[in-house]
């Protein structure tokens, strides 16, 4: 076990310990618990940074190539193990017939995720120190944040899908607690429940997937499955056994200990398992058709939206897809791509017409997650992950900026804002940077990641032209993104204030603005290590870091990159141009009026404003009938038993009447005869029967005791 592993274990445990401390000493420390939480996550960030540098140094020494195994630090301990351990098997294989191992597995992806999560979390903690001040549940808020950080870090470091799932549920649970933080309003509670339950729907698939893998492959160790399910060329190990095609785990190590045969899973089952795992990711990453919870989740405090519902937890679905990438068969990957494509389009179209700017950001998050999914689906694994990193920075910045605006004006309604640029310059400029990043303005981080995604999809579509939609959807989606983001920025910051609150607004304290500046740095510069710095002779650090250990079947877009770049600049100018024409303050001569357009496309506008009627649809098709059935059966249960009892009573009564007649005629005489006989016998035993109940009981009790004593004496003899 290397020291780095201890480092990462500490980075997970520190927030967890902070959580326990905050719970235990919450009363005594009062509001100072917030500093405990912030210091803990800050320490985790420092540890992750050390880990990153150390990993980078180690990788620089070994210089792995594309597709080569990356440096991996792993260590685990047996959590559940049944049966004797079998010596002589490689360490990567489960040493026992049935074993679940609790462990950490740190590779390049984990290193980067740690750095990203702890950085954003630290910044958000600092922001929340000021933003949440005066909240009645201030210390509880930070306690939950600490728990969230610990579980999120555990999620990205777990070596075993079982524990990934446990952490997965824990982050969902923290999200539930934090969405409902202001539970005085019943709408927030509903939003929290909705988030939790919609995620449970996704978990159905996840559990099915886990169950299938566990039952067939006998292991849930991610690295074992990833390394062994494909051969050296990145092809699935498909074999034909008894007429049906199965996928085998490659030797060595994955051999069934008893039979000596390789572990295998039917091809169809592998497809189902892949779809199941993806369903879990659909829930967590708010993809169509389970995207409905994320916009409602904005009911939580804004720092929570920034950390959990934009940067980290919702990206966990994308992370998991990337993590178990080799398990997905081509059919599943295509499903992933189309799900991402549909999601990014639907969510983007809804974001265009929302008036609440936090809702715009929420749908924008859904849409960007769709971008990541489509990238992974077409095989652009590093493009999707790159977008995950850049998106975490600029979306966290956008949400914190939104929080800063809300702190000043106490509204999220864009019609009531405007002209804030002059009053809140730091917020406006940092948010402009983020807006340019997400829209894909060249030199900003988002440009490079979105460009990489478009290049991946273009490459895929050039190979399979029938899937042209997979290029068109993200291209149109990118234009939509630029449109709604510039709309948002213009409506909030440009022009003249449209309400008294907006005209009185002022920048908040430094604790609110510094986090924005801290996030603005990577928002602008995160793309440079990939593109600009290599020109000056540096290693393409980030790109390499993302590509280490990438499965071979993922694609390298290569030459189409320049076409994609052209396309992305084109869609950017379309989106930005439309946004400026409608909402730009300075173009007086040929202005487009959004109201008029909305009027002309009335039904479409209404359709988008009502979010494609998803909530109404789910309510009418799923929720209402289920509840109706539940009530109906509940009522029947209540009635049926009474009916049955009454019926039996009726039959019994009839029968007893008949019996009565029979009794009087025949039985009574016989009974009378017997009774007289018994009485005569009993008369002789009268000395014992003095008529007192206690005596009877006494005799009985003595008899029982005597019997027991005799029996025990015999047994123990």
């Amino acid at each position: 076990m290397t020291w780095q592993l201890g480092l990462y274990a500490t980075a997970i445990l520190v927030p967890l310990i902070a959580f326990v401390v905050q719970l235990a000493a919450g009363r005594r420390l009062g509001h100072r618990t917030a500093y405990v939480a912030t210091a803990a996550i800050g320490l985790s960030f420092v540890l992750s940074l050390v880990g990153f540098v150390s990993y980078f140094a180690e990788v620089a020494r070994s210089r792995p190539h594309h597709g080569a195994s990356p440096v991996v630090w792993r260590g685990d301990l047996s959590w559940v193990g049944l049966g004797p351990s079998v010596p002589g098997l490689p360490a990567s294989s489960p040493g026992r017939p049935l074993e679940l191992r609790l462990g950490l597995d740190v590779d390049n992806l984990t290193v980067l995720m740690f750095l990203m999560v702890t950085f954003v979390a630290t910044v958000v903690h600092v922001f929340a120190l000021a933003y949440m001040r005066g909240d009645p549940r201030y210390s509880r808020f930070f306690a939950y944040l600490s728990l969230f950080c610990a579980s999120m870090l555990a999620l990205v470091a777990s070596s075993n899908l079982f524990f990934v799932f446990a952490a997965w549920e824990l982050v969902g649970f923290c999200s539930y607690l934090l969405i409902g933080h202001w539970h005085e309003e019943i709408a927030n509670v509903d939003a929290a429940s909705k988030a939790f339950l919609v995620n449970r729907v996704g978990d159905v698939g996840m559990l099915v997937g886990l169950g299938l893998l566990w039952a067939n492959l006998g292991t849930l160790d991610i690295r074992t499955i990833n390394d062994q399910i494909r051969d050296g060329d990145g092809q699935l190990n498909v074999a034909t056994v008894e007429g049906s095609s199965v996928v085998e785990l490659r030797n060595p190590g994955a051999v069934d200990i008893a039979t000596g045969l390789p572990r295998r899973i039917g091809y169809g089952l592998l497809v189902v398992a892949g779809l199941g795992l993806f369903a879990g990711c659909v829930g967590k990453s708010a993809q169509f058709p389970l995207h409905v919870w994320l916009p409602d989740a904005m009911a939580g405090p804004t720092p929570v939206s920034a950390l959990i519902h934009a940067a980290t937890m919702v990206a966990a679905g994308v992370y998991l897809v990337a993590r178990v990438f080799p398990v997905f068969t081509p059919e599943v990957l295509l499903t992933i791509a189309y799900t991402g494509g549909i999601t990014l389009f639907i969510a983007g179209s809804i974001a265009m017409v929302q008036a609440d700017f936090k809702k715009v950001l929420a749908y924008s998050t859904v849409s960007q997650l769709g971008f990541m999914m489509i990238a992974l689906g077409v095989g652009g694994r590093s493009a999707g992950l790159f977008h995950l990193m850049t998106h975490a920075c600029f979306k966290a910045l956008l949400f914190l900026g939104a929080g800063s605006v809300y702190h000043a004006v106490h509204t999220y309604e864009m019609p009531a804002l405007g002209g804030l640029y002059r009053r809140m310059r730091t917020t406006a400029l940092t948010m402009l940077a983020a807006t340019m990043a997400i829209s894909g303005v060249p030199l900003f981080s988002g440009f490079y990641s979105k460009d990489a995604i478009l290049a991946s999809t273009l490459h895929f579509v050039m190979g399979q032209p029938e899937h042209i939609l997979l290029f068109l959807l993200p291209a149109v989606g990118a234009a939509i993104t630029a449109f709604y983001m510039f709309r948002l920025w213009f409506l909030i910051f440009a022009g003249q204030p449209r309400s008294p609150a907006a005209s009185r607004a002022s920048e908040g304290e430094r604790l609110l603005t510094w986090p924005l500046i801290a996030l603005a740095v990577p928002t602008v510069a995160l793309g440079w290590p990939v593109t600009i710095l290599p020109f000056f002779g540096f290693e393409p650090i980030l790109e390499r870091m993302l590509e280490y250990g990438e499965p071979i079947e993922s694609i390298d877009p290569g030459g189409v990159q320049w076409w994609a770049m052209g396309a992305s600049v084109l869609v950017l100018s379309v989106g930005f141009g439309l946004g400026a024409l409608y909402y730009g303050p300075w173009i007086a001569w040929r202005r487009l009026d959004p109201k008029k357009t909305a009027h002309r496309f009335g039904p479409i506008h209404e359709f988008l404003a009502r979010k494609w009627y998803f909530d109404e649809l789910y309510r009418a098709v799923l929720v209402a009938p289920t509840l109706a059935i539940a009530r109906a059966i509940g009522w029947t249960d209540r009635r049926a038993i009474d009916g049955a009892v009454d019926g039996v009573a009726w039959i019994t009564e009839r029968f007893s009447r008949f019996e009565g007649v029979f009794d009087r005629v025949a039985i009574d005489r016989l009974v009378g005869l017997i009774a007289r006989g018994v009485y005569a016998t009993g008369d002789r035993a009268r000395w014992l029967q003095n008529g007192s109940l206690p005596t009877y009981l006494m005799v009985l009790a003595v008899a029982v005791v005597g019997l027991f004593a005799a029996m025990f004496a015999w047994i123990l003899a």
Binding site: V80, L82, G180, V189, N216, R263, I633, D637, V645, I715
Partner: protein, 579 residues
């Protein structure tokens, strides 16, 4: 081994039950003469249970003759009885102040008798003995229902339970009579041995098989037995369509009795299903072809699907807590039936690759037994919180009564939330691992012709657990996010109730974080359930030549040890007395 020797061994292993029964009888008898405060009676009960637990530890190496005795002391019996003593103590903690002084001796006596009955069922190796154990649970339950508050709803609940329970006992007895009538043997291990359809003469090639249920000349009789036994036990576990009584009876009876009904009959019902039906159905590694197993699987598949779906759906619309928990317990019976359906499957999994040498039958039993442990803890914990909160003046009946609990009683609310999340199957709690095992067992059993059947069963189970999350979450939302409604709760929480709550909550978390001991216990129990001894043992007991018999026994022990080692278990041959 002589019959008297065998009887003597059986009596020795049943000492804990006899002690409990004796103590119960003594209490009920003494109650007629002396009037003591209920504290004394409950302490006496607790001491009895603790001594019984010590005795169980002391007797754990005792063995009995597989085919000669009415009770066994195998792993199943040991762990199961330990579980029932433990939950008996938890129930006692919940019940200690729920009855007035006048009725205390009868009340606690009945509680002890129920405990003894449950332990007998777990240990039973004989159809009649099993039935006696089941009735020893039922009859004191009637008494408990009548003893409690005497108002119209309680009376109605008691009457309903009484009549329906009698009815189901009749069904069960009928089924058991058929089982006995077909083979002429009532010893469960002997039935299991016969069910394997081994040839009468191992040396002759074409020898006719030993007659068992699998090759009875009247297969329809086997089906009748199967259906009636399932019906009789289905009532105990509140499986659809024998669930009708549960919501009414839970709602009408005092909370502590509802807790008892939600756990003890369900626990022993499933153990009895596993004990009897996996014994009579050929579920070994290489069973003969036979329709009865398939019919059993189909039957339990249907019951499982209908039970969990109905339980979960109807619970969605409930606001009365006890009704809600009644439907929740029905739903959990459905999850457990998944494991039963797997336990009925025959054949070997080795070709399939999950766990070498473990039959699906063992895998299913293992999952059921694991789930029973977590179910008992989380259900009793939830009921214990309700009991701890209720007072006669301010009972906790509906969801609204729990509103705002997190503010007024944060620790109780936390315990309740842990139990509810565990019931909903959220990791890392005991309930999640239990559910995971059940679903995995179903996936692992899916091979060959009925693969789709088991896969769909697992998927339906997972979907149901997602539906179930809704109504558990509804309670959590009420506790944590809503403001109190009506008069404030004024619980008088006593330490026994508090420690019952604490035990359930902490074990629910602990077993979620460290499940290894329960895994091992349920695996060993499942193997013990499925083992049907060695045919040699029967012959040896009949042979005159003792040295030959002993040699054969040693060989058989060695074979058994090897067989278990293949399944990943350690086993030492029992210490046998010289014949």
């Amino acid at each position: 081994m002589t019959a008297i020797e065998s009887a003597r061994q059986t009596l020795v292993i049943l000492v804990p039950e006899m002690l409990i029964l004796f103590s119960a009888i003594a209490m009920m008898t003494a109650g007629a003469f002396v009037s003591l405060p209920r504290r004394v009676w409950s302490i006496m009960s607790a001491v009895t249970l603790l001594v019984a637990m010590l005795l169980l530890f002391g007797l754990r190496h005792q063995v009995t003759d597989l085919y000669g005795s009415v009770a066994l002391n195998d792993a199943m019996s040991g762990y199961g009885r330990l579980l029932f003593v433990l939950t008996g103590l938890i129930l006692l903690g919940m019940a200690h102040d729920q009855v007035d002084d006048a009725r205390a001796p009868e009340f606690f006596g009945s509680l002890l008798m129920i405990n003894a009955g449950a332990m007998l069922v777990v240990a039973a190796n004989e159809l009649v003995f099993l039935f006696v154990g089941l009735e020893l649970v039922s009859i004191p339950t009637y008494l408990l229902l009548y003893l409690s508050r005497r108002n119209a709803t309680t009376q109605e609940a008691a009457t309903k339970y009484f009549f329906l329970s009698i009815f189901s006992s009749g069904l069960l007895l009928f089924g058991l009579a058929y089982l006995y009538g077909m083979v002429g043997v009532s010893n469960l291990k002997a039935l299991a041995f016969l069910a394997q359809g081994l040839p009468t003469d191992p040396n002759a090639v074409n020898a006719p098989p030993i007659m068992g249920l699998s090759n009875t000349p009247h297969p329809i009789l086997g089906l009748i037995a199967l259906v009636f036994v399932m019906a009789g036990l289905g009532f105990r576990v509140a499986a659809v369509p024998f669930h009708f009584y549960a919501p009414d009876v839970y709602q009408g009876s005092p909370t502590v009795i509802a807790a008892l009904l939600a756990w003890v009959p369900k626990g022993i019902g499933f153990v009895a299903i596993l004990r009897t039906l996996t014994a009579v159905l050929p579920t070994g590694e290489a069973p003969p072809d036979n329709n009865l197993t398939e019919q059993a699987v189909v039957l339990s598949w249907i019951i499982a699907v209908v039970t969990m779906t109905l339980g979960n759906t109807v619970a969605l619309a409930q606001t009365n807590l006890k009704r809600l928990f009644a439907y929740s317990s029905i739903a959990h019976a459905g999850y457990l039936m998944i494991g039963v359906a797997v336990a009925f499957r025959n054949g070997d999994l080795a070709a399939h690759g999950l766990v070498p040498g473990v039959t699906p039958s063992e895998l299913g039993s293992e999952a059921v037994l694991f789930y029973l442990v977590s179910y008992s803890l989380m259900t009793l914990g939830a009921f214990a919180v309700i009991i701890g909160l209720s007072t006669p003046e301010r009972p906790v009946e509906t969801l609204d009564d729990l509103a705002g609990l997190a503010k007024s009683h944060p620790i109780l609310a936390f315990s309740m939330a842990v139990c509810l999340f565990s019931l909903a199957g959220i990791p890392p709690l005991a309930g999640f691992i239990g559910k995971f095992n059940l679903f995995v067992a179903a996936f692992a059993a899916s091979g060959g012709d009925d693969a789709r059947m088991y896969q769909s069963l697992a998927v339906i189970g997972v979907v149901n657990s997602a539906i179930g999350a809704y109504y558990y979450l509804k309670i959590v939302v009420a506790m944590y996010y809503r403001d109190p409604v009506g008069a404030p709760l004024a619980p008088r929480l006593t330490w026994p109730t508090a420690s019952a709550i604490g035990t359930c909550t902490s074990l629910t978390i602990l077993l979620g974080l460290w499940a290894q001991p329960i895994y091992v216990a349920s695996r060993e129990s499942a193997v013990a359930l499925a083992s049907h001894g060695h045919p040699v043992a029967i012959m040896a007991s009949n042979e005159d030549d003792r040295s030959t018999a002993e040699k054969r026994l040693r060989e058989a022990d060695e074979a058994e040890r090897e067989a278990r080692a293949r399944r990943g278990l350690q086993w030492a041959p029992p210490v046998r007395r010289k014949p």
